[in-house]
């Protein structure tokens, strides 16, 4: 299949599965883009998502644009025009499913406005979104606080840990500090400024 058609299908799937905030999509991105198709490396994925979070605008649109650009330029070896086309296709196909569904709902909304169906869907899927967000958190912790994926198998069975696995204390401090800052001072500090400050601290100390 052509790369742009695959991009369209993959990002339309992301658009269909995006429930309650951009972070829910992170495990699905990993499954599809990193592990499934091998379009991005684990580290590259983390860097791209971090930049998507830093720039203004909705996170999922930023991420889709960035992933689309990167995948298409990798396919066509650095052709920027191909990259822009890939970015456009990724963004449009991310938004298309919700557009179609929203139009259907808006056409039928006036008839039964109590929204019982909507609430029951949200009630059912809410716990799964929390689970997915925790998985996303673990993925970012594995990319920052530890040098690689946590070796659960070795930990449980008591075998020797791989030598490449290590703990980064400074990254752990940054992780705890940014969590605390966003919960306690979330009204004054924006996500963007927290990430920006950590980038400067990381460039100096790490």
């Amino acid at each position: 299949m052509h790369i742009y058609l695959i991009l369209f299908l993959v990002f339309a799937k992301f658009g269909l599965l995006c429930f309650g905030g951009g972070n829910v999509l992170t495990p699905i991105y990993i499954e599809e883009l990193v592990e499934g198709r091998g379009w991005l490396s684990f580290e590259q994925f983390g860097n791209l998502l971090a930049i998507a979070q830093m720039t203004p605008g909705p996170i999922s649109v930023n991420a889709a644009t960035f992933f689309g650009y990167t995948v298409a330029t990798a396919e066509y070896t650095g052709n920027h025009f191909a990259g822009f086309l890939g970015a456009g296709i990724a963004t449009v196909s991310l938004l298309l499913p919700s557009f179609i569904l929203m139009m259907i709902v808006l056409k039928t909304l006036e008839k039964h406005e109590n929204g019982r169906g909507m609430k029951s869907i949200m009630w059912g899927v809410g716990p799964a979104t929390i689970g997915l967000t925790i998985v996303a958190m673990m993925i970012f912790i594995e990319m920052s606080v530890f040098t690689e994926g946590i070796p659960w198998h070795e930990l449980v069975s008591g075998a020797a840990l791989p030598e490449s696995f290590a703990f980064r204390p400074f990254a752990f401090v940054l992780f705890i500090a940014s969590t605390w800052a966003l919960i306690k001072k979330g009204k004054r500090l924006s996500i963007m400024s927290v990430i920006f400050i950590s980038a400067i601290l990381g460039a100096i100390f790490l």
């Binding site: 799937k13 269909l16 599965l17 995006c18 429930f19 905030g21 495990p27 860097n47 971090a50 979070q53 203004p56 909705p58 996170i59 999922s60 649109v61 644009t65 960035f66 650009y69 330029t73 970015a87 456009g88 938004l95 499913p97 919700s98 557009f99 569904l101 929203m102 139009m103 808006l106 019982r116 909507m118 029951s120 949200m122 059912g124 899927v125 716990p127 799964a128 979104t129 929390i130 689970g131 997915l132 925790i134 958190m137 970012f140 990254a171 752990f172 940054l174 969590t179 800052a181 919960i183 924006s190 996500i191 990430i195 950590s198 980038a199 400067i200 601290l201 990381g202 460039a203 790490l206």
Partner: protein, 229 residues
């Protein structure tokens, strides 16, 4: 014949009752149909681009900003309209920002405006990210300071996600279903590598089946049992 039939029906009283809230609403909100379509489209495009660019912090912040501009300043929508439809914006998959923008556009000028406001929400970040992406390919990623900066950013990102988990936890985690399904989906994705999409689809289907089919049947049975007593 038809005249007689309509005379025999008693429609005037309920109609008057229904009109009353409508009249009071129209006093509050501006009648959008008097504004030319081109002006409405242009304003929506400009305002949503501004909102998407200036508002950092995800969908809920964008809804608050849209409330301020469209309900309080312009008064194109009745007060509380956006907040009342929040369950719809949350439930339809996709961005909360995009869904609410489509709703505002649709209410103001129908289908075309919904397209325009969706484009307006996505366009600024598309342009910015395109520039960033080109710049990113020139960045010396081998430099230790650049790598350190990215490591710092990733640690902060873990913190951002942890903060969202902690903030949304009390809203969602109550009841048997939440405490049963959250660990199942977490363990299933992390340790058994089950596709995360299955858990989302499973949750939706359970919610619909349980709340819309099982609960009404149960309530009806419960009522019957009570009446028999």
């Amino acid at each position: 014949m038809t005249k007689n039939a309509s005379d025999s029906l008693p429609p005037p009283l309920p109609e008057v009752e229904e009109e009353k809230p409508c009249v009071s609403r129209e006093v509050e909100t501006v009648d959008v149909s008097n504004i030319p379509l081109a002006k409405r489209l242009g304003l929506l495009l400009f305002l949503f681009m501004k909102i998407a660019l200036c508002v950092v912090g995800g969908g809920y912040a964008i809804i608050a900003a849209a409330e301020e501009t469209f309900e309080q300043k312009l008064r194109w929508l009745p007060k509380g309209d956006l907040l009342n439809h929040l369950p719809v914006f949350q439930t339809i998959p996709g961005l909360i920002a995009g869904n609410s923008a489509m709703y505002v556009g649709y209410k103001i000028a129908g289908f075309l405006c919904a397209v325009v406001s969706l484009i307006a929400v996505a366009l600024p970040s598309f342009i910015i990210i395109s520039f960033v992406a080109v710049g990113f390919s020139w960045l010396p990623t081998d430099n230790p300071h650049v790598q350190g900066a990215f490591l710092g950013v990733r640690s902060a990102l873990a913190g951002v996600v942890a903060a969202t988990v902690i903030k949304s936890w009390p809203k969602i985690m109550h009841g048997c279903w939440a405490w049963l399904y959250m660990p199942i989906s977490l363990i299933g994705i992390m340790f058994f590598n089950i596709n995360a999409a299955y858990f989302l689809i499973g949750g939706i289907s359970f919610g619909v089946v349980f709340m819309l089919i099982m609960v009404p049947i149960y309530k009806r049975l419960f009522k019957k049992a009570k009446e028999e007593k």
